[in-house]
Symmetry: C2
Subunit: 1015 residues, 2 copies
C-alpha cells in the first residue's frame, strides 16, 4: 500500500540579489575529454569501439544484489566485480577506454577503495581512459519520471563526479541507451546541463527503418519551445541495440566465440571473425552520415571479468585493422565519437527533430505503453517522496548551518534512494516484485531518515521560548485514514509545511474517532471543521491495508495561506462531551450522509461548480458558473492479451509489465451503474460511488474549489476468470477535439498528440489503443479550439500514468493493471502484485478540470496551478502536547515563511538545498511556457539578494542545470542544421552596484550555488 | 579407427661410465616453498585456505576450447582468463596464494605474455604466492595410463617449470584431486620425484566413511615392495570433494552468495556466513588428526574472474577470524599444509596403507570401472604413440647434435600431445565424442611431426655413401592391412626400429597384392616368407575403415635380432612371374586356407604349442610342451544398465563412460559357436573365428613362439535392441585360484587382488561384477599356488582395459563398450562412438600365456618378457627404391645398434631423449620386482661411460625421477609411522678413477642428465 499524502492549495509572489563566489567546482587543465580522443583517419570508415556496461540500478535483482553479485539465480551480475576488473584492464594498456554511467554503483564502489586505488583511477579519468557518461545516479526512466526528480538524480550523480574527479569527471554526453521511449524534456534537461550529445537505442521500429534508409539516425533535436542552440542537442540512435555486434560479445555471460589466434588450433577463427566484423561495419556505415560509426561493446552487466572483453577486443581491433580493408578501428568513447563527427567537415546539414520518441514499439504489437502505469502504488510513493525530499532539503537550508560535518547524512539517504527510484526499471514498474519491495523498503528507510532531518530543522526553526520542540510524528498512512496520534490524542498539534514558493490554501483531512473537535489556527482563531464519516462501503476493499486504525471519521478543516517555504501550526483539541453546547457543535461539525435511492439523480456542488449524476449513479454533467458541460465518467477495463501460442512473436506477446496490449479495441465499464452515498457538510460535499467490490470513487467538491477531485480506489483486480485487467478512468465529453490531445512531458512542457498519427513518419495502426498511449506525469486534456475560445476538459494526476484520447472529446488515464503473463522482455514475471497476496489495492487522485469557455485563456494556464497544487502538496507532522494553545504559541513559532515574500506566480524555487562547504544550491524556474498566458508567459526578473526571509544571499554563481560546471565556463559544440534558428539573447545575471538580478525566460531554469548569511 | 602397429620380439645385455656435470637445473636461495608458509597457531583449528582451479586438459571441450574459452555452450570455461585474472589478484595482495597444476595450459599462457608480466609472475613464484603443485603437463589418469607415459608427462611439465622458474617452480606435492581411483604406481612415481605429499578427492565411499570415523583421512602410503621412506609418501584425502565448502563458492560460475558486508543492506549476511563456515570447519576437523585442516577453495575452471573469488575469500578470512571462535584462517598451499602437519609435534604415528585405491565407487551402484575400457581405440592409439615417441626421442639423441636451435620442435609437438593424452578425461575415455576426435587429431598431427623427426634422424644415421636417404613413409594403418607403398611398389625397403634395450625378433606383416616376393635381410640373405590371404570374413566388418587398400594378402616374414636401440633394413622385391621357378616359389610362400567343416575339431600349433578347438569352433585346450591345459575362451557381452526411473539415484544410474553397471551378474556369449577358417603356412598358423558379423578373432601361433596371439575385432556393437553392450574376452580354466588374481599397476608393479574383498575394510558386495573390476595396463593372471609350483594362465594386453576374475581359474578383459545412456557424472553423453556413424570397430591383441607347471618360476617372470614385447613394439618405415640391394647397402646402413651392447635382461633404458643445451636425459630401469626371479630380481650394476655405441657419456648427474632436481640435493620430509621400516641402502652412483657405475635395485628407475661426445 502507498505512503500517505494529503492535499489541496494555492499560490503567490516574490524578491532579490547576488554576488559571485569562489566556492567553485574543481577546475583542472584538461588532458581528458575531447583532448584525449584518437583522431579519425580520412578515406576509411572510422570505427569507434566503445566498451561499456549497462548496469541497471535494480531490475531482476535489487540494487544491493546487483552491486554485490548475489542471487545469481535471478541474474549473473555483480557490479563490484565489473568496476574492479575494468579498472585493472584499463591500467594495463593506455589505448583502452571504458565508459561508466551509473553513480549509484560507482560511488559505492569508490568508498570501498584504498587511497592507492583511488589515485590510480583518478589518473585514468584524467587521461580520458575512464570516462563518465551521463553520470546520473542512475539511467532514469523517461516516461514515469518528473523533471524535478530527473534533475535531482542527475545532479546527485554528477556532484559525486565533480567532488571526486573535477573537470575530467564531468559528463558531456547523455546515454539513455535502455529506457523505453524518449521524452523531449529529458533531452532539454541534458541540453541545459551542457551536454553535447545524447544517445539511445530504443525507438519505434518503423521510425528506425525510415531513419536507417535516409541516413537520419543522427539529428539535432530541438527540445523546447524557446528554440535555439541552447535547447538543441545532437542525438544519435544506435543501429539496433547497445550490445556488441552479433558474434562479438566476449563477455563472461556471452556465448560468442573468442578470437582463437593460434594458427595450429583446429578452432583458429581470426580470418572468419574479421570478415564478419567488416561486413557488419560496412552495412552499418550505410545508415550513418559521416565516416565515423560507433561499435557499442557491452551489454547488461557486462565486464564482470573484463579481461575476457578487453583481451578479445584488443585482438578484434588489431586483426581487423591488419586484415580488413577500408576500416580503422580504435578504442573510443561517445564523446570522442561526437567530437569526431562534429569535426568532420563538409557534411550535409544535420536533420532536425522537434517532437519526442513516444510511444516506443519494437514490433507492430509490442507497444511499450503498459509501463506508463505499471506498479501504480509505487509510482505514487515516488512522487510523494519527492515532495518530502524537497521539503526536507529546503528546511535543512533554512534552518541554518550544520552543526556537524556529516550534517547532510540524513538527507543523503533519501537523495540516493530517490536517485535509485528514477531508474528505468524502478519507477517504470518493470522490475521483479521482490525488487519492487526492496525499492519501497529503501525509500521508506530513507524517508524515516529525512523525517528525522525535518525534525532537526524544525527544532532549530520553531522554538522561540525555553521549551524543546516535542518529537514530530509523520503519519505515513494518512491516505488510508490511519494515524495513531490523531486517532488517539485528545490534544495535539499539526504542523503543515508548504514547499512551494507561493502561499497555499489546502484542506486537511485527519483520521479521528467520532467526537467534537476544536481546531485553532496559528493566531488562535477557531476554524470551521467538518467530521466526515469513514464510509465502510468505500473503505472495505482497503480494510486489510489499515489494520491498525480505529478511526471512524475524518476531521476536515481548511489550512489557508500556508506561507511559501514555510509552515503553519494548528492546535487541535477533542473537546469534552459534557456541556450543553456540545450537541450544537456536534451538529455544526457533522456531515449529512445518505444512500441514494435507486434511480435518483444526485448532484453535489459548492455554488461555483456542481457535479450531476444520472439515474444509474454515473456522472452525467458538470455545471461550471452556470454552464452545463455534458460529460460521462466511468472506471473501465481492458482485457490484457494473454499468452498465445508461440507460432509467431505476435501471437505470443501478452500484455505485461512493459507492454500494453489489450485484447480488443475498447474498454468495458466495470459497471454501468454505481451505488451512491452522498455526504454533505460545511466544507466538502462528496459522493461515494461504488462500482463493484473492488472499484469505487469519491467525487469531492470542496468549498471554494474550481475543480472536481476524484479519488479512485481500485483493487484487488479480480483475475479469477483467467483474464488480466487494465483499469482506466475515462471522461467523455462532446468537445470536438479533432483527433488532437495534449500531454505533459515529464510534468513540464505540454506536447500536442494526434490520434493514430506520428509527426515524422506514416503510422500503420496495428494497435489502435496501445499505440495511442502516452505517458502522463501531470496532465492530459482535449479542447475544441486552437484559439483558446472553446471548451476544455483535463485530468491532472498525482503520479505517472498512461493516458490517451481514443475518441474526440474523450480522455482517459490508466490507473491500475494486473496481468497474468510475462511479456517476454526480460522481467520474467507477470505484473501481478503482490504475487502471493490477494492483489494490490491502489488509491489515487485526479483533478477533473472542466471549462466550457476558455475565453481567450490558453488551457495550460488553467492547468498549471492545479498541476503545481497536485505535485507539491504540503507535508504534515504531528505531536501530542499538554501545553495550552497560549503556552505552545509562546514557545514555538506557529507560522513562518522561509521567503521574504512569495515569488511571482510564474516563478518558483525548484531547488533549495544544502550543498557543499556551507553553500546551498538554488534553482529558480519559470513555470509557464511561451504563449501560455499573456502576462505569466513573459520573462521575469528577480533580485536574488533578499529572496530569503532570514538570510542574505551574499554570493550566487550560476552553474549549468546539473550544478557541476560554472555557466560562464560552459561551451557546447556548434552544429550545422538547415533550419538554424536565431539564438535568443541569454538573459544573464548582472551585478548592479549592490543587487543581483536574475531574469528567467519562459520555461527557463537557472541554477546557482549560493552563500547565505543570517540577516 | 586405430593407428597401426606390428609385433613380436626378443632381448639381451649391457656396458659404461660417468662424470658429474654442471648442466644443472636452476638453483636459487629459496624464499618460496616451505619458507613462505604462514605459521599455524597453537590451540585453535588452523584452516589452510587453498585457492585452486581444476583445469581439465580436455573433457567437455577440447584443450584449445578450454584454453581460449570458446564453445561456452559446452561449458563456461576459459583458462587464459583464469591465469590472467589470478595473476592480477595475486599481485594485489601479498597475503594471497594460489596453486596451479596443469602445465599444458600454463605454458601456453606463458608464451603469450610480455616480459614485464613474466617478471611479475616470477616474483610471485619466488615469494611463494603462486605455487605449482604436481606440475605435470596434465593431471593424469591413474587407471588407463602406462608408467612410461606418466613419468614423461610429469617430466615435461616440470621441465617447463624448472626452465622457467627454477627452484621456486619445483612442485613438492602430488595433486590428483579428480582422477577416479588411485594407483600405487602413481604414488610411487611421486615419491621418486621427491614429492612430500599427495592429495586426492575420490576414494570408495565406504572407505571414506571408515577413515573419517577413525581420523585416518591422512596416512603414509607404502608404494612399492622395496619398502622404506624413499618409496613412502604422505597421502591426504579430502573430506568430500575438492570444491569450496557449500555456500562458499564465490566463483563467476557459482551460485553461492557473496559476502554482503554493508550492515545497512537488506541482504547483509556476514554473521550468518561466518557461523556456517565455522560449523563446517569444526565438523571437518573431527576427521583429521592434527590441528590443521585444508579448505580447498576452487573447482573445475574456477577463477575466470578471480576478483570475485579473492575479494570474497579476503572477507571470509577476515570476518571468520574476527567473529568466529577457535579458528584461524589464512591463505596457504598444499605444501604449507603438509609442512604444518609435519611440524606438528606430539601426534600419534601416522596410519599406513600398502594396497591401492581401486576400484572407486561413490555409491553402492556406481563403480567407476567402465572407464578402464571406455574408448578402446583411442586407448590403443595412445599406447602405440608412446612407443613412437620413445623411438623418436631415442633416434634424435642417437643422431647427434641438433643443427638448429629449435631442433626439438618436431618432438615437442608429440611430447605435448602425449602429455595431453594422459589427462584423466583423455585416455580415460570419459571426454565428449568431439573432444575425443580432437585428441586424435592432435595426436595424429604430432605423430606426423615426429615421423619427420625420425626421417631426419635416419638421414643422419643411415647414409654411408653419397646418396641421400629417400623420404621415409610411415604407414599408419598397418593394423588394418593398409599401406600404399607396400601394396603398390614392386621394390621397396622396410626399416624396422627397435626401441628396446635388447635384441628383438619379431614377425612382420605387410599388406601386399598377391604375387611372389623376395625379402632380403640386411646381409642380403633371402628370408622365408609367407603370403597370408586377407580373409574377407575377418575383414568385412572393418572394410569401411580401409577404403584405400586393395591389398589381397599379408606378406609375413621374421625380422630377427633387431639390434637394441637400433634398426634393420629389409629389401623387398615383388618378383616377376615370368620364370619357371615362379610357381614353386609361389607355392612355398603360400598359405593353405580352408573352412572348417561343421563339427570338425581343429588344432593349430608350432610344435612347442598347440591350440585345440572344439566341435563348436571354440578353444577347448592348449597343449604346452605336451601337457594339455583344458581351457575355454570366448567373446561375451554384459548388458549395460539402461536409464531407469529417477526414484532413487541407484535406479537412475546407467552404465556409462565412467561407470560399469551390468544389468545382471554374468555375461552372455556373443555366440556359442564360431565359424572357423584355418590358414597354415611356413611361418604362422592362424584360425579365424567368426562369432557374428560384428565379432571375430584370429588365433595365431607363430613359429618358435611360446604364447598364443589372439587378435580380436569387435564392432560395430549392435544396439538396435535398445541395450548397450560391454564386450569381454574371457578365458576359463580349471586352475583353483582361490579367489585371488593378479593385475599390474600402470604396467609396472603386480598387485594381488581378491574377489569380493578389500584389504582395509569390509566390502558389502553390491555390484558383484563391476566391483571386482580393476585396470589392466599390461597383464592379468590367475595361478593355483603361491609357491610357484602350479599352473598359470595370463592375458597380456596392448592397451588399457578393465579386467577381473569372477570365478576361480577365470580371467577376463573388457575390450569394447557401447552404451546408450549417460551415467550422470558430467560428460553428458552416452558412450556411443562414433555418435553419428554405424559404430566403432576396434581391433586389438592379447597374448595368451598358458603354463601348466611353473616349476618354481614366479608367474611374473614369464609374463614380463611378453609384456615388454607387447608394450615396446618396433616401428617400421618404408621407402620405394630403384637401387639394387647392393647399391642400397653401399649407401645406407642396413643394420645398427645405438648401444655398445644389449643391456642385461632385467635392465632397460626407459628414457633416452635430447634434453637442454646439448644434454640428454637417460633413465635406466630395473624391470623385475623383488622375488620375481632368482637372478633377474637381483640388483644390477652398470658402467655408464660406454653404454652407447657411437658416443662416450662424458658426464652424468643423477636427478630425481622428474629430472627437475639433482638427486644429491633432494631431501624429503620424514614422517612418524608405527611400522617404520629400515631404509635400504641407496646404491649410489660412484665415480671410480675413470668409470662411473650405476647399481639398480629391483624395480628401481634412476634418472640422469648426461653429456655425450662422439667416440
Amino acid at each position: 500500500m502507498e505512503l500517505p499524502f494529503i492535499g489541496v492549495f494555492l499560490l503567490l509572489a516574490f524578491g532579490c540579489c547576488l554576488i559571485t563566489s569562489d566556492a567553485a567546482p574543481q577546475q583542472k587543465a584538461s588532458t581528458c575529454g575531447y583532448n584525449s580522443c584518437t583522431p579519425s583517419k580520412p578515406g576509411v570508415i572510422n570505427v569507434h569501439v566503445v566498451p561499456h556496461t549497462h548496469d541497471d540500478v535494480g531490475w531482476l535483482k535489487t540494487v544491493d544484489q546487483y552491486y554485490y553479485g548475489s542471487k545469481t539465480g535471478y541474474q549473473r551480475a555483480g557490479v563490484q566485480y565489473i568496476i574492479d576488473s575494468v579498472i585493472k584492464e584499463l591500467l594495463k594498456d593506455p589505448e583502452r577506454r571504458f565508459i561508466y554511467v551509473e553513480m549509484a554503483f560507482f560511488s559505492q564502489w569508490w568508498q570501498e577503495q584504498t587511497e592507492t586505488k583511488k589515485a590510480a583511477v583518478k589518473q585514468l579519468v584524467e587521461e580520458g581512459r575512464l570516462e563518465f557518461i551521463s553520470g546520473g545516479w542512475c539511467m532514469n526512466d523517461e516516461a514515469g519520471t518528473h523533471y524535478n526528480d530527473i534533475i535531482d538524480q542527475m545532479t546527485w550523480g554528477m556532484r559525486f563526479l565533480n567532488d571526486t574527479f573535477g573537470e575530467c569527471g564531468r559528463p558531456k554526453i547523455g546515454w539513455q541507451i535502455d529506457p523505453f521511449g524518449h521524452s523531449r524534456e529529458q533531452a532539454s534537461i541534458f541540453a541545459s546541463m551542457g551536454f553535447d550529445g545524447l544517445f539511445f537505442g530504443r525507438i519505434d521500429w518503423v521510425d528506425r527503418t525510415h531513419r536507417k534508409a535516409n541516413k537520419e539516425m543522427e539529428m539535432i533535436w530541438t527540445t523546447s519551445n524557446s528554440p535555439g542552440e541552447q535547447s538543441s542537442i545532437f542525438t544519435g540512435i544506435f543501429y539496433d541495440h547497445y550490445s556488441a555486434p552479433s558474434g562479438f560479445c566476449f563477455d563472461v555471460v556471452c556465448r560468442d566465440e573468442p578470437f582463437i589466434d593460434n594458427p595450429r588450433s583446429a578452432d583458429y577463427n581470426v580470418v572468419k571473425k574479421v570478415k564478419d566484423l567488416e561486413a557488419h561495419i560496412k552495412a552499418k556505415a550505410l545508415s550513418y552520415a559521416t565516416s565515423n560509426i560507433m561499435l557499442t561493446m557491452g551489454d547488461d552487466f557486462n565486464y564482470m571479468s573484463a579481461d575476457m572483453n578487453f583481451k578479445n577486443m584488443d585482438k578484434m581491433i588489431r586483426y581487423t585493422n591488419e586484415l580488413g580493408s577500408g576500416v580503422n578501428l580504435f578504442y573510443s568513447t561517445p564523446s570522442c565519437y561526437v567530437k569526431a563527427i562534429n569535426d568532420e567537415a563538409g557534411s550535409r546539414p544535420w536533420p532536425t527533430k522537434t517532437d519526442d520518441f513516444f510511444p516506443y514499439s519494437n514490433d507492430p504489437h509490442a507497444y511499450w505503453t503498459g509501463y506508463f502505469t505499471s506498479r501504480p502504488a509505487y509510482k505514487g510513493t515516488v512522487r510523494k517522496a519527492n515532495t518530502f525530499l524537497q521539503s526536507c532539503k529546503q528546511l535543512h537550508s533554512l534552518a541554518g548551518p550544520d552543526s556537524s560535518a556529516d550534517g547532510q547524512n540524513l538527507i543523503d539517504s533519501l537523495r540516493r534512494s530517490m536517485g535509485e527510484a528514477q531508474h528505468h526499471d524502478a519507477v517504470a514498474g518493470t522490475e521483479k516484485e521482490h525488487v519492487s519491495q526492496d525499492y519501497r523498503l529503501r525509500l521508506h528507510d530513507s524517508l524515516v531518515d529525512c523525517q528525522q532531518d525535518v525534525g532537526n530543522s524544525f527544532s532549530k526553526i520553531l522554538p522561540i521560548g525555553t521549551l524543546e520542540l516535542p518529537q514530530q510524528e509523520f503519519c505515513l498512512h494518512l491516505n488510508v485514514s490511519q494515524c495513531s496520534i490523531t486517532e488517539s490524542s485528545s490534544r495535539f498539534v499539526a504542523t503543515i509545511y508548504n514547499p512551494r514558493s507561493h502561499q497555499v490554501t489546502t484542506y486537511v483531512r485527519l483520521p479521528v474517532m467520532n467526537g467534537v473537535y476544536t481546531v485553532l489556527d496559528p493566531d488562535g482563531s477557531e476554524l470551521i471543521v467538518q467530521l466526515v464519516p469513514l464510509v465502510n462501503a468505500a473503505l472495505r476493499s482497503i480494510e486489510t491495508e489499515r489494520p491498525k486504525s480505529s478511526a471512524t471519521h475524518e476531521l476536515v478543516f481548511q489550512a489557508s495561506q500556508i506561507p511559501s517555504l514555510g509552515h503553519k501550526t494548528f492546535y487541535i483539541v477533542k473537546t469534552s462531551a459534557r456541556n450543553g453546547q456540545h450537541s450544537t457543535v456536534r451538529e455544526r461539525q457533522s456531515t449529512t450522509v445518505r444512500t441514494a435511492e435507486a434511480g435518483e439523480k444526485i448532484a453535489v456542488g459548492n455554488g461555483k461548480l456542481s457535479v450531476n449524476f444520472n439515474a444509474a449513479g454515473l456522472i452525467e454533467s458538470v455545471v461550471v458558473d452556470g454552464v452545463t458541460v455534458m460529460m460521462s465518467q466511468n472506471l473501465m477495463w481492458y482485457a490484457g492479451m494473454n499468452e498465445g501460442n508461440a507460432n509467431s512473436i505476435f501471437d505470443d506477446r501478452p500484455s505485461g509489465a512493459y507492454v500494453f496490449r489489450p485484447n480488443g479495441t475498447d474498454a468495458t465499464p466495470i459497471s454501468t451503474q454505481a451505488t451512491l452515498i452522498v455526504q454533505t457538510g460545511a466544507l466538502v460535499s462528496e459522493v461515494y460511488q461504488q462500482f463493484s467490490d473492488w472499484a469505487s470513487q469519491v467525487v469531492r467538491v470542496y468549498k471554494g474549489q474550481s475543480d472536481v477531485e476524484i479519488e479512485w480506489t481500485v483493487g484487488p483486480i479480480p483475475v479469477g476468470d483467467g483474464i488480466g485487467k487494465e483499469i482506466v478512468s475515462r471522461v467523455t465529453t462532446q468537445i470536438p477535439s479533432g483527433g488532437r490531445f495534449y500531454t505533459d512531458s515529464n510534468g513540464r512542457q505540454t506536447l500536442l498528440r494526434r490520434r493514430d498519427f506520428r509527426p515524422t513518419w506514416t503510422l500503420n495502426v496495428s494497435e489502435p489503443v496501445a499505440g495511442n498511449y502516452y505517458p502522463i506525469n501531470s496532465h492530459i486534456y482535449v479542447t475544441d479550439d486552437q484559439q483558446n475560445a472553446g471548451a476544455v476538459v483535463a485530468l491532472v494526476n498525482d503520479r505517472s500514468q498512461g493516458g490517451t484520447s481514443l475518441k474526440d472529446g474523450q480522455i482517459e488515464l490508466m490507473v491500475h493493471r494486473r496481468l497474468l503473463y510475462d511479456d517476454h522482455f526480460g522481467v520474467g514475471e507477470p505484473l501481478n502484485e503482490p504475487g502471493d497476496g490477494p492483489g494490490l489495492v491502489v488509491r489515487g487522485t485526479h483533478y477533473l478540470l472542466v471549462n466550457p469557455s476558455l475565453a481567450g485563456n490558453h488551457p495550460v494556464s488553467l492547468i498549471r496551478p492545479l498541476a503545481q497544487q497536485m505535485f507539491m502538496r504540503p507535508w504534515m507532522s504531528f505531536s501530542t502536547t499538554s501545553l495550552s494553545f497560549t503556552n505552545w504559541k509562546n514557545n514555538f513559532r506557529t507560522e513562518k515563511s522561509g521567503l521574504t515574500a512569495p515569488l511571482p506566480d510564474n516563478i518558483h524555487i525548484l531547488t533549495l538545498e544544502p550543498w557543499r562547504d556551507g553553500t546551498h544550491l538554488l534553482r529558480l524556474e519559470h513555470i509557464y511556457d511561451v504563449g501560455e498566458h499573456s502576462t505569466l508567459s513573459q520573462p521575469v526578473t528577480l533580485i536574488l539578494d533578499d529572496l530569503l526571509a532570514d538570510y542574505k544571499i551574499t554570493s550566487a554563481v550560476e552553474t549549468t542545470l546539473g550544478a557541476n560546471q560554472w555557466a560562464s565556463e560552459t561551451s557546447r559544440l556548434p552544429w550545422n542544421t538547415a533550419d538554424k534558428q536565431q539564438q535568443p539573447l541569454k538573459m544573464s545575471t548582472k551585478n548592479s552596484s549592490t543587487k543581483t538580478s536574475v531574469t528567467l525566460l519562459p520555461m527557463e531554469i537557472r541554477t546557482f550555488i549560493i552563500q547565505m548569511t543570517p540577516k
